[in-house]
Amino acid sequence: MSIFYTKEHEWIKVVGDKGTIGISTYAADQLGDITFVELPEVGDEIEKGEIFCSVESVKAASDIYAPMSGVITDINDELESAPETVNDSAEDTGWIAKITIIDIDEEELLTTEEYDAYIETLD
């Protein structure tokens, strides 16, 4: 298993050719209280670097970009009634979608250490 981050603040946990995607704790903190998660649909094909869903908070609506290309196999339905789960646990139970990865492409993605160093530069 390995975890990667994007500079747009998504994370992807990769096990074999399966990936779980969400937004980082840093992103959830920056957005403030999340009020709505627009989930993708199972079967949707998503493309690395392209928008595939969005998250709304009391402050703003933000697009979520796919960290890798793949096909959605599962979505976190619970976020429909409890979007606050993303604030409570962005990188665990607040996951957004699971995919079958089409192409394991780590280019432009950051490791946990690299991402932590990156967000340090943003404050």
């Binding site: 920056q30 009020t35 709505f36 009391v58 703003a60 979007p83």
Partner: protein, 480 residues
């Protein structure tokens, strides 16, 4: 909270007495009859008058208080415009009345459309203007439709629309609604779209570049001519979001900067009423290249007669001629101000914003510290260290008799507070606002927690905005 009108109904009470029926009663077919009586409230006239008068006393409006909402130009709406809009010759006519043939009772109404279109074309430096769009976002949609029509007619293959990351959310939303993909360009340290990144991202598939100039940071783009040249070299159209036109009215014409389409928010720049969903008006001006695609009908003048021209197949984008009453108010405002007066609007709006910026600079962080145009954007980042956020400062202002400024926008400024005084506020009012902001900055140091409870002086205090957004419930239910 006061009771809803529904809750005040008293069975059998009446506000009107109808005369005896003087036509024969007809029995309605059973299938058209209600199964039970409609639950319409029963009141006396006085019940209703008191209900709405008391509600209106709770209104927080530009007629009662200062509204420093950035990017929204909440200026005073002169009452003379309301009077003119109610003139019988303008308010009591019907859009289907004949416009020619001896029954031409609408010549004055058509002349007003013709003259206001010409006025707006002159102010924006455009070739022609349509008054049809009913709001700014509607105008944006039409603007992007004109651009799409232009590219389609030329056989251009276009896929993208470029917006800066400081743009109004409606810009990418409109382009996306019209089927384009969005390319976002970051803001450079000079406070507007990064020229180098823009050039890198520009390509032959870009249909349009949408800009607000001055932008939402109150910064006038110093490279606008170059942006225009680069865009046009790729046959991309330059779109001007007129939300901030107030800053350059009569001073700079978007057309002279190379813009191809402009929408004007009459409910902002031309002082017509604003807020709570309108009615607004978002006229769209365009360059000669796009003029053939304007919606029909066009008002034309032949000799001294006005008529409606339907010579193209372009559809209209609204019923009839737009929000006509709003157009009357805007035209009245334009005539009343005159060309010198409109220039004065821009000068005073910019001067006022800079006055507030300079006075508050010692107390709040100013991420883009330079002479601003019509609005300035502070950040509450210094106050956040004491646990007070932009939202708490906004709520604190309510207790001091001011509408909060726009907060958390533009998105690129953390804890943003965007202040636009407009030209209609006096120095005394601005000084009172500045004093309130300074007082709040002091409270952040001495008693920060008190601001978390603000407002405490209003009919309702701090609302749970998160819960309200998560579980929207705006419907009254009788037995809830």
């Amino acid at each position: 909270m006061s009771k809803m009108l529904f809750e005040k109904s008293v069975e059998g009470r009446k506000g009107v007495s109808l005369p005896a029926m003087d036509v024969p009663a007809v029995d309605m077919p059973a299938n058209l009859k209600r199964n039970k009586l409609a639950e319409i409230g029963e009141y006396s006239e006085l019940d209703v008058v008191r209900h709405y008068t008391n509600l209106s006393l709770k209104n927080f409006s530009v007629d009662t208080h200062f509204y420093p909402l950035g990017s929204c130009t909440m200026k005073y709406n002169p009452k003379v415009c309301e009077t003119v809009a109610r003139f019988d010759g303008l308010a009591a006519i019907h859009p289907m009345m004949p416009v020619s043939g001896g029954l031409d009772m609408c010549q004055g109404a058509l002349e007003l459309i013709y003259e206001l279109e010409n006025h707006l074309s002159e102010v924006t430096g455009m070739s022609a203007t349509t008054l049809q769009p009913l709001a700014g976002a509607h105008g944006e949609m039409l603007g992007i439709m004109l651009i799409a029509s232009y590219h389609r007619a030329k056989g251009n293959k276009k896929k993208y629309v470029i917006v800066p990351d400081s743009s109004h959310g409606t810009n990418p939303a409109t382009a996306s609604m019209m089927g384009y993909e969005i390319i976002t360009v970051k803001t450079a340290d000079y406070g507007d779209m990064d020229l180098d990144e823009f050039k890198e991202k520009m390509n032959d598939e870009v249909a349009a570049v949408m800009m607000t100039n001055p932008n939402t940071l109150g910064v006038f783009n110093p490279y606008i001519k170059e942006i225009s040249e680069v865009a046009h070299a790729h046959d991309a159209m330059l779109y001007y979001d007129g939300a901030n036109l107030n800053a350059i009215l009569g001073k700079v014409r978007p057309g002279d900067l190379g813009f191809d389409v402009v929408h004007v928010n009459l409910h902002k720049t031309y002082a017509t009423p604003h807020g709570s969903g309108g009615p607004g008006a978002g006229p769209v001006g365009c360059s000669a290249k796009l003029e053939p695609f304007l919606p029909q009908p066009r008002v034309v003048k032949t000799g001294d007669k006005f008529s409606l021209n339907y010579d193209k197949e372009n559809p209209r984008i609204t019923s009839y001629f737009g929000n006509y009453g709003v157009l009357v108010k805007a035209y009245t405002y334009a005539l009343m101000m005159g060309s010198d007066g409109l220039k004065d609007v821009a000068e005073k709006a910019v001067l006022n914003a800079n006055y507030i910026m300079q006075k508050l600079k010692p107390y709040y962080d100013l991420p883009y510290d330079k002479t601003c145009m019509h609005e300035c954007v502070f950040s509450a980042s210094r106050q956040v260290e004491k646990g007070v956020h932009a939202l708490d400062i906004a709520k604190g202002l309510i207790d001091r008799g001011f509408h909060p400024p726009t907060v958390y926008f533009p998105l690129i400024v953390p804890e943003a507070m965007m202040i636009e005084p407009t030209e209609t506020e006096s120095k005394q009012t601005m000084d009172e606002f500045i004093d309130a902001m300074i007082e709040i900055a002091g409270i952040v140091d001495t008693d920060p927690d008190s601001l978390h409870h603000a407002p405490v002086t209003r009919p309702v205090t701090r609302l749970d905005e998160t819960q309200a957004a998560r579980q929207v419930n705006v419907r009254y239910q009788k037995d809830a």
